[in-house]
Symmetry: C2
């Protein structure tokens, strides 16, 4: 994942309403929710929600499908996964301490250990 794309995804998530939408969709994965249901649950005006959904779609964080006269939005897990991979790589890479294990995210910086090779593997997961 390139930095430009990372910025796009980060921007999409860096807004409380949109983060709330995304989290709500995660709760309802993999089927998702209709736009009206999202608007109702989060108390957003239709136009406002539509604006935010457009942002999330554009960033590739959500997908939509028409079903009857409803449009269902669902989260795209791969996009989030890519973002986490990007952050993990650039949090733990190079000379940075704090990425001792092959596990999850970064560890608090303490000792100097050989950097894990797991990060690059994880990218393609």
């Amino acid at each position: 994942m390139q930095s430009k794309q990372a910025v796009t995804i980060l921007s999409a998530l860096a807004q409380s309403s949109r983060l709330a939408v995304y989290r709500l969709l995660i709760e309802h994965a993999p089927d998702g929710l209709a736009a009206s249901a999202i608007a109702q649950k989060l108390g957003l005006a239709n136009a406002t929600l539509s604006f935010h959904l457009k942002e999330l779609s554009h960033a590739g964080l959500v997908a939509s499908r028409q079903e009857g006269r409803f449009i269902y939005y669902s989260p795209v897990i791969a996009a989030m996964n890519d973002l986490i991979g990007y952050l993990t790589d650039h949090c733990c890479s190079q000379s940075a301490r704090g990425c001792a294990t092959g596990k999850a995210g970064c560890k608090p910086a303490t000792a100097t250990k050989p950097r894990s090779a797991a990060a690059s593997k994880r990218r393609s997961a």
Copy 2:
């Protein structure tokens, strides 16, 4: 980590200059770089860089220390780790498919498996 703080950190990273600053600091962890060196390397005006550093500091992503007449900025790995933990949790939680293993980030959504308990452990790492 609360959503509000997550939005703060995401916002701080959701800007290309700031993401570049953060990545540059990661390359130079744990000692960091002086503001002037950052500005020079990234081709940013001093005032502009100062503005971005303030954002990053406010989000807790970087720390600073004065050394002579230089101010050195260094990345706060724990903050990034918290963010990754937050995203991992809210990417993989509840009914969402796609978090089969206890490893790193999320997996592409496929099968339905018992959700890992590693996420909550990871939070406190």
